[in-house]
């Protein structure tokens, strides 16, 4: 076994296709884009080297950037909070070989298939101050005082977007968890059952420890994708009202393309990249295998 697994040629053959395809396309533009963050470039004239100016400006002058960092962090926290526990719970609930489970799994995944535009339109009407469902329910409940312009209020806008995103993506994470649970050998579970373990103990002692690699995957995925979140924000609020939902990626797009300051945008991109890198390394460390 060991001999087979140490054969250099075999390793190269196995790793090469992915390595070549990936290396050809991603790293070079990545390095270029990192390099451009030290330039001033409007995408038309020649780039002009300005050293660390973009970064200095970002941290000392650009109040919107600082807001966007804060909002991104809130967004990541809320997304994890809203999506992961629910997805985990549902994944366990839906892998017990009982009736209707497949139906629920399929339906849960549906929203992630629908494009962001449709989701933003759905929630535009759900949160709509006049005809929206949320306000209608509040009125029926007699809590007129809570009636709100949900997406137009700086205090609630980000929260509302996070709820919409959770609605869309719980099924996505559920799918990843289901794969992990399915991989746990049945005999382990049966054995625990025979030993008299209840459902709760089963989850804590058998399922969760075995799910560690999968949990790690899903944590890294949700953190990185939340750092980079753009579509949901862009179509639902455009970063508004008054930058209350501005996140790093939307600020980057705004600067790089709409205001034609590509170098500045790349600087934001570089910071975003480093943040992702640090966070996922930390997650990997915390959930390291006990080998």
């Amino acid at each position: 076994m060991d001999k087979v697994m140490r054969n250099k040629k075999v390793i190269i053959v196995f790793i090469a296709p992915a390595m070549i395809l990936f290396t050809l396309i991603i790293p070079v533009p990545l390095v270029v884009s990192m390099g451009l963050s030290f330039f001033k470039w409007n995408l038309l004239e020649a780039p002009q080297f300005i050293g660390l100016d973009n970064f200095i400006r970002l941290f000392t002058k650009d109040a919107i950037f600082l807001t966007s960092v804060k909002n991104t962090l809130i967004y990541i926290l809320l997304s994890m909070l809203f999506q992961l526990p629910a997805a985990y719970f549902l994944a366990i609930l839906c892998t017990r070989g009982k009736r209707f489970e497949r139906l629920v799994r399929n339906v849960m995944f549906l929203p992630s298939v629908v494009s962001g535009t449709a989701v933003s339109l759905i929630f535009y009407f759900i949160y709509h101050p006049e005809v929206g469902i949320v306000n209608a329910v509040l009125k029926a409940w007699g809590r007129e005082d809570l009636v709100h312009m949900w997406l137009a209020d700086e205090k609630t806008a980000l929260l509302c977007v996070c709820i919409a995103v959770a609605w869309q993506f719980i099924g996505y994470h559920m799918l990843i968890y289901v794969t992990g649970i399915v991989a746990i050998p049945m005999d382990m579970i049966e054995a625990a059952r025979i030993d008299g373990a209840g459902t709760w103990q089963l989850i804590c002692r058998i399922i969760t420890p075995n799910m560690k690699p999968v949990l790690r995957v899903s944590l890294v995925l949700i953190v990185t994708s939340s750092f980079k979140t753009f579509d949901a924000i862009y179509v639902m609020t455009g970063g508004g009202p008054a930058h209350a939902t501005e996140v790093m990626a939307s600020h980057m797009y705004e600067k790089a393309f709409l205001q034609q300051r590509y170098g500045y945008g790349c600087a934001i991109g570089l910071i975003l990249f480093v943040c992702c890198l640090v966070c996922s390394t930390v997650i990997q460390r915390i959930l390291r295998d006990k080998e």
Partner: protein
């Protein structure tokens, strides 16, 4: 270890090669600014000489039959959009152009909305393979294209095609002119006015207000009757700034506007800005808008106005066709009235020229590209566009006014008689400060203090312009 080092080196050198390729005309990013500017100027001088030589060629050999080959065209538009007249009109242009010049083919690429268009255009221009003819911008937003030498001046085109030259409107060309040369031709003239519902005005016994006081009184009357005076949707906040710009003009007049906005000479902390903000605040406190304006979109507000749910809507003339169709004879337009003691005039209109088309300096088929642009700016094609119901930037174009709605004709008359054209502020201030201006008026609409709001804008603008 050695291998790794080599691969890293390779990556870096590739990256460097790419980086230098990003610049226009292959200018070295390491060079200092003055040098690269100089070289760009030299290059553009070279190009001019070349153009002149080419120009002589075309004139000598002349004639429609000589123009051949394929050109690429990029436009902003989409089918199934009844408010977009450019798309169907341009498709017809291409068809007729290819009939007129059988050896020519136009390959069109369409992008549906402005942000996407800007993203795609910037990317392709950065890579140095621009389309031959493309929709571009005017004023400050066109300027970087000109400085970078991405677009050709149109003087050669106008020399070659006198018919097109004869319908050019100097005011419109002025918005695309830099250092005495025009680089693009605007298609649309677009204005902002107060559209009103004549039926509602009549039912409430309100006359078209001619003074600010009358406008306030009208707002009160409508509110008493339970009718929304102005409907607006500022989930994207720019429509909230338009009334402010008009108030500023009525109060402070044209000179103040030119000094502050065109020359960027006055600071936003100035008294004049705060005073205009206070008038706006007064109107807001009288309840000029629908309550939910901050959470609905401009599009939704337009639907509400077309359905007769509000007395007035401050809106761009791009909605003329929509209102003309929905409200028919009941739709009218007037401009923001005079303010007593103010230096401005109710005959100053916010007026801008948009949808400009330019020829890329990288075009390999200048003759065909010029022929195409000249063709879309021919007497017939401009008449066809005007008859769609949009306002055109060209002048001296004869067309059938009976094909337009009453509202469109009314608008045209006002535009023709305008004393002064105010450019929308955000166009002049640049996307960055322009966007913050919109956030400033949003703050006032939400009950913020004008002095504080403009103080913040002042700081933002000073910082942004200093850069």
């Amino acid at each position: 270890m050695k291998k790794k080092f080599v691969s890293i080196l390779l990556t870096i050198s590739m990256a460097a090669a790419l980086l230098s390729g990003c610049g226009s005309q292959g200018a070295d990013p390491g060079k200092d600014e003055a040098e690269s500017k100089e070289s760009a100027q030299e290059e553009s001088a070279d190009r001019e000489a070349e153009e002149k030589a080419q120009g002589r060629d075309t004139e000598e050999t002349g004639g429609a039959g000589e123009i051949s080959g394929t050109i690429t065209f990029w436009g902003l538009g989409t089918p199934d959009d009844p408010t977009n007249f450019v798309y169907p009109w341009m498709l017809e242009n291409i068809k007729l152009f290819e009939e007129k010049y059988p050896d020519c083919k136009v390959e069109a690429t369409w992008v549906a909305n402005g942000d996407d268009y800007l993203t795609k255009l910037s990317t392709i221009l950065a890579s140095g393979e621009a389309p031959d003819v493309f929709r571009t911008y005017v004023n400050g937003r066109l300027e970087p294209y000109v400085t970078a030498g991405k677009v050709l001046p149109i003087d050669h085109l106008l020399e070659t095609y006198p018919e097109t030259a004869s319908i050019m409107n100097e005011n419109a060309l002025a918005s695309a002119t830099f250092d005495g040369k025009a680089y693009a031709i605007p298609l649309q003239a677009s204005s902002q006015g107060i559209f009103y519902n004549k039926k509602i005005f009549k039912e409430c016994n309100v006359e078209v207000p001619t003074t600010y006081e009358e406008l306030l009184a009208a707002i009160d009357t409508f509110n008493e009757k339970g009718i929304t005076p102005f409907v607006a949707g500022i989930s994207d906040p720019w429509p909230g700034t338009i009334p402010y710009e008009l108030i500023y003009d009525r109060l402070n007049g044209v000179e103040a506007y030119e000094e502050a906005i065109l020359n960027k000479g006055e600071s936003f902390g100035d008294e004049s800005f705060v005073k205009a903000g206070e008038i706006y605040k007064e109107m807001l406190e009288h309840g000029m808008y629908n309550e939910d304006l901050v959470s609905i979109s401009d599009e939704e507000a337009r639907v509400k106005f077309s359905n007769g749910e509000a007395a007035m809507k401050l809106c761009g003339t791009y909605a003329v066709a929509l209102y003309g169709e929905a409200l028919g004879e009941d739709a009218g337009i007037f401009n923001f009235p005079d303010i007593e003691g103010g230096k401005g005039s109710s005959n100053n209109w916010i007026l801008s020229y948009n949808e400009a088309y330019a020829i890329s300096s990288e075009t390999k088929n200048q003759a065909a590209a010029e022929a195409f642009v000249a063709f879309i700016y021919s007497q017939d094609r401009q008449a066809a566009y005007a008859e769609c119901g949009d306002l055109i930037a060209c002048k001296n174009v004869k067309y059938d006014e009976s094909k337009l709605s009453a509202l469109a004709v009314e608008c045209l008359q006002y535009m023709a008689g305008a004393d002064y054209a105010i450019l929308p502020w955000d166009v002049m201030l640049g996307t960055d400060v322009g966007a913050e201006l919109n956030n400033t008026t949003l703050q006032i609409i939400r009950g913020g203090d004008p002095a504080k709001a403009f103080g913040e804008l002042h700081d933002y603008a000073m910082d942004s312009w200093a850069q």
